[in-house]
């Protein structure tokens, strides 16, 4: 290449070429916002250098994680939000993500709600009237009061969510088990978890109804409540020899973002990574093997693997006999045979433990002292026939063989058998599980199978062996930051609390049809959406929207005009992180860095004003920080250096971190891995009872996304969505710099297999409609080999107005189950047509 002989100056160049000043158009990258982008102020750094402050917080990214981020403030604006640095070696626990570092665009984005608004046209018309906070609080308070007086306090419903990270001040109360049946047959609401200080108190004062969330509840209730699954440290994944990412995408989406680092370290040490997913996720793309299971059939795959391991004598029989509930004995009704049945202990006491048939002793022996428990067989216990749980489990899943699963899951039999052999013989195995496998109707059943597989492979409580990955992995914060260990929660409970309601919010669709809840008349007077965006993020969106017609008044407190806000009557702007103080479980004190943008207020301040307007002047007194001080300043915390002062001044207090790959053995009363339950407690009780078949491992096809559904004639494709790194529910919607990565030609896109696309005349970048009886959405198509041929993936995390027509969540079926009231995001079928 020649060196130019003339030395062009800028001016001469401009006049001699077409690139005259002003002729250049902006390139086709992310569009300008309505914010002043002239560049003058945005390009002037020199004057403000050196005047910076930093504040610790988390980004409320709603990814489930809680990365400690450091916000830098210059001239009263947050200019940077980078992961906090750690002085000590943290071996891969410092994370953060593409979303977190772009917080300034979210906080100051043009879609931010700036002031309170009330509906000016029909619901969903998009016509709004700006009002003052005084007017807004008066409307809100008067509505609550009127509904209370006319229909009773329970008619005011408070939908909770995770939008504020379940923060102590600005989160919302929620529950796992929401109600219970009393001995007299009445249904009693149970208390919620202590989060969302102000609204907790107001709800109790007014006898309101807590609407708990349904998302991820099959997993949460089974892991944390029913089966008490033990929690390993995330670092322990590096010790595994086989890692099975099941319904999980640790490369992108994990409550513990450091899991990917631990997995990479494990792989560097020779571990094999297997990904089980209908979609070729980023994890699957990296994996040594991708098992493209059909949505909702994972439990069938597990059944087949159980059969293969048992039939081929590959099990860790020592674990099965001595450390699982396999040898426990159950009668016809499913009750454990206990010492009391043999007259060897008093019924109902701690001493009355389950017994097993000890082959050595040839007698029934307390399980903890038996030396050789039988795991097969039926025995006579004083005239009562009892059989082993293991027998009952295998009988219950007898039909779901390798051959059955090959057909049901769409996975070759040889691959299923190889998978089973691998997890059984190439351990220690970590089943890294996330909620992806519990997004179809009655998918709660899979947790019994996970427990059974874990028992058969001994993947419990040993280095590298674990079975409930993402749900139960410790947050990185928990091992790096000093944690307060005690809390003063007195203020969360009102002495003069009025009994109110408590059930999973998704049931409003049923109440809209029947006018009743749990057999009693129920009037839906007010719905307050706090930290929640049901219409975009819950499943069954179309049914929920229809239910809104039966709700007198809807208030939504949020930061942008979500689909839920769009259909509300009153919309109130609340704070984003760094705009108010908060304490988040995990040892993170969020410092206030800036004043709220526009006229936004913290949820705490909003509810406090409402309470005062309703005449409850003593209900919420003082500032949020006053409550946080009382909450955190226990003698233990102060002494440990994690009281209010230490935390509020530092954001986080670093602990003496050392790479702690601790493993936890089973901690349930039996000390054994469970895959059976004597009692199954529903989350929302209306008197339902569950038979033996429901308390053992079992497989049931999805309620809509099943192969023989006659509707597949018109909707042949199985639909699904998933979380990726570019979204965090809808908290990152309306974000042009993230759109650069997550849109295709400026539009959200769906993923469809090459063959399915060809059959429909669809090519990449074509505009398509995905539709079914529940709803529809128009978006672009990305044709790929990285998905099952019979499935289509739609994005999760865009709001309705980011689609040209319709919205993705409208496609989901409303089908909460009667055990977990779960959100079943992936139980729907659809068709795709080119536009």
């Amino acid at each position: 290449m020649e060196t130019p002989s003339t030395q062009l100056t800028r001016r001469s160049f401009l006049t001699t070429t077409a690139l005259a000043a002003g002729a250049l158009a902006a390139s086709g990258m992310a569009g300008c916002s309505s914010v002043d982008t002239s560049g003058d102020a945005a390009n002037d750094l020199a004057s403000t250098a050196g005047q910076e402050e930093t504040y610790i917080g988390t980004c409320h990214g709603n990814c489930g994680g809680r990365c400690a981020l450091k916000a830098t403030v210059r001239e009263g604006k947050i200019v940077s939000t980078l992961p906090m640095e750690f002085p000590n070696e943290n071996k891969g626990l410092r994370v953060g993500c593409v979303k977190g570092v772009s917080n300034p665009l979210r906080i100051y984005g043009p879609s931010r709600l700036m002031y309170p608004m009330k509906r000016a046209g029909e619901r969903g018309s998009g016509e709004w009237e700006r009002i003052t906070w005084d007017e807004a609080i008066e409307l809100f308070a008067n509505q609550l009061k009127a509904s209370m007086e006319t229909y009773g306090g329970a008619s005011n419903m408070w939908q909770g969510g995770a939008g504020n990270m379940n923060g102590i001040l600005n989160g919302t109360p929620t529950g796992i088990i929401n109600s219970a049946m009393m001995p007299d047959g009445t249904i009693a609401p149970l208390p919620s978890f202590n989060a969302g200080f102000a609204n907790s108190r107001l709800i109790q004062k007014t006898g309101g109804t807590v609407l708990s969330v349904g998302h991820d509840m099959a997993g949460i209730v089974f892991c944390f409540v029913h089966l008490s699954s033990p929690q390993s440290a995330v670092e322990d994944l590096a010790n595994a020899k086989t890692i099975v990412a099941w319904g999980a995408n640790p490369a992108e989406a994990s409550f513990c973002r450091a899991a990917w680092n631990a997995i990479c370290t494990g792989r560097e040490n020779g571990a094999k990574l297997i990904a089980i997913d209908p979609l070729l996720s980023t994890t699957a793309a990296h994996a040594d093997e991708w098992v493209p299971v059909r949505t909702g059939t994972d439990a069938a795959l597990m059944c087949a693997m159980v059969h293969y391991i048992v039939d081929n004598d590959l099990a860790n029989w020592d674990y099965v006999k001595n450390k699982s509930v396999a040898p426990f004995l159950i009668d016809e009704a499913g009750a454990y045979l206990r010492l009391s049945s043999l007259g060897q202990a008093e019924a109902g006491t701690d001493a009355d433990v389950p017994v097993v048939w000890d082959e050595d002793a040839q007698a029934f022996v307390a399980h903890a002292t038996a030396t050789n428990p039988a795991i097969r067989g039926t025995f006579d216990a004083n005239g009562v026939a009892v059989r082993t749980v293991f027998d009952a489990a295998l009988e219950n899943i007898a039909p779901f063989t390798v051959e059955f699963a090959a057909n049901e899951c769409g996975i070759p039999a040889a691959q299923i058998e190889n998978l089973a052999r691998t997890v059984a013989t190439e351990g220690p195995t970590s089943f890294y599980i996330n909620y992806g496998l519990e997004h179809t109707y009655e998918s709660w059943r899979i947790y019994f199978l996970i427990g059974l597989l874990a028992s058969l492979t001994g993947s419990v409580g040993i280095p590298g062996g674990s079975y409930v990955g993402s749900i139960n992995l410790g947050h990185e914060s928990a091992t790096m930051f000093k944690q307060p260990t005690t809390f003063n929660e007195d203020d969360f409970t009102l002495e003069d609390a009025v009994p109110g309601g408590h059930f999973t919010g998704d049931w409003i669709a049923q109440i809209a049809e029947t006018g009743q809840w749990a057999g009693q008349d129920f009037h839906m007077g007010t719905l307050v959406n706090m930290c929640a965006n049901p219409l975009d993020n819950f499943s069954g969106s179309s049914a929920l929207l229809k239910a809104y017609d039966k709700i007198d008044y809807i208030v939504t407190i949020d930061t942008i005009m979500t689909t839920t806000a769009h259909y509300s009557d009153l919309v109130l702007p609340c704070c984003m992180p760094w705009e108010t103080y908060e304490y988040i479980e995990g040892g993170i004190f969020e410092q206030k860095a800036i004043d709220p943008v526009g006229d936004a207020r913290s949820d705490f301040d909003i509810i406090k004003a409402v309470a005062e307007k309703m005449g409850y002047d003593d209900l919420i007194v003082g500032e949020g920080t006053d409550y946080l001080r009382r909450y955190l300043d226990t003698p233990e915390n102060i002494e440990a250096g994690v009281g209010f002062d230490a935390l509020s001044e530092n954001g986080v207090v670093l602990g003496d971190y050392s790479c702690d790959a601790h493993v936890t053995p089973e901690y349930n009363p039996f000390g054994r891995t469970q895959f059976y339950l004597e009692y199954l407690m529903p989350r929302d009780n209306w008197g339902q009872m569950f038979g033996l078949q429901d308390r053992l491992p079992y497989y049931k096809p999805s309620i809509e996304a099943y192969a023989d559904n006659p509707d597949r004639a018109k909707y042949p494709l199985y639909g699904m969505s998933s979380h990726d790194i570019y979204h965090g529910q809808t908290l990152w919607s309306h974000h042009p710099w993230l759109d650069d990565f997550r849109k295709l030609d400026g539009q959200p896109f769906c993923r469809i297999h090459t063959e399915a696309a060809a059959e429909r005349g669809i090519k990449t970048s074509d505009k398509v409609r995905v539709f079914n009886d529940h709803g529809s959405v128009v978006l672009n198509a990305l044709v790929t080999e990285g998905i099952r041929k019979d499935s289509v993936w739609v994005p999760h995390g865009f709001t309705w107005d980011e689609f040209e027509e319709g919205y993705a969540q409208s496609l989901t079926r409303w089908c909460p189950d009667d055990v977990t009231s779960n959100n079943n995001f992936n139980d729907w079928i659809c068709e795709v047509e080119k536009m």
Binding site: A41, A49, T764, T784
Partner: protein, 208 residues
């Protein structure tokens, strides 16, 4: 003499673009400018798999920014000398004051997309400057690209993308020092480069 280079571990990189976004925010880039981003090897589009379902599907990620070449095509073609290679550490930089925006370097560089012309009227997402206070001003009608965070190197820090990667996939250091982290990593792992046959001598490596 120091010769800075970078290594990206493709067994760890998930194409999450945190490096791209952190760089974009920290350098207060105009909307039209991007120094670095993740690409997909597999399909034509980002996050599009290639190969054949189900057993031969491929999708791999790598990040692409200026390669800070040994024999930069941009330096050779630049008519004003704005495009330069620093002797003391090998950084390839653009002197914005000398750049006339002719875009010859963009045409000459084999690595598509790593250099961008700042438009005559650049736009910004917000009405105040983001990121590092030491981030350079963006002169209209000049070409910009990754500088290996020269302002951070001056402070004794590593480039932001190196520190920030949540998968710990990125290594940076002196390729001429056999004891440096990057030299050790390259000695221990199989690696490849992009468009090595173009002859510009890139200094970014991809661990296989």
């Amino acid at each position: 003499m120091t010769k800075y280079g970078m290594a990206v571990d493709t067994k760890r990189c998930t194409g999450c673009n945190m490096c791209s976004m952190a760089c974009r925010v920290d350098h207060n880039l105009p909307t039209e400018v991007l120094y670095s981003r993740a690409h997909t090897e597999g399909g034509e589009h980002f996050r599009q798999a290639g190969g054949t379902y189900p057993d031969q599907v491929t999708m791999k990620f790598y990040t692409l920014a200026c390669q800070h070449c040994d024999d930069p095509a941009c330096v050779e073609i630049c008519p004003t000398g704005a495009s330069q290679k620093r002797e003391e550490d090998g950084l390839v930089l653009v002197d914005g004051e000398a750049c006339i925006g002719c875009e010859s370097c963009i045409a000459a560089c084999p690595y598509e997309g790593v250099r961008t012309l700042v438009p005559q009227s650049p736009t910004y997402p917000l009405d105040f400057a983001l990121g590092d206070a030491a981030a350079a001003e963006h002169l209209p009608n000049t070409v910009e690209k990754c500088t290996f965070c020269a302002e951070r190197l001056d402070r004794g820090e590593k480039p932001l993308c190196i520190d920030i990667c949540p998968a710990y996939a990125r290594t940076f250091g002196d390729l001429d020092d056999p004891e440096s982290e990057i030299s050790k990593v390259l000695a221990a792992r199989e690696h490849e480069q992009l468009l090595a046959d173009q002859g510009t001598g890139p200094n970014v490596y991809f661990l296989k």
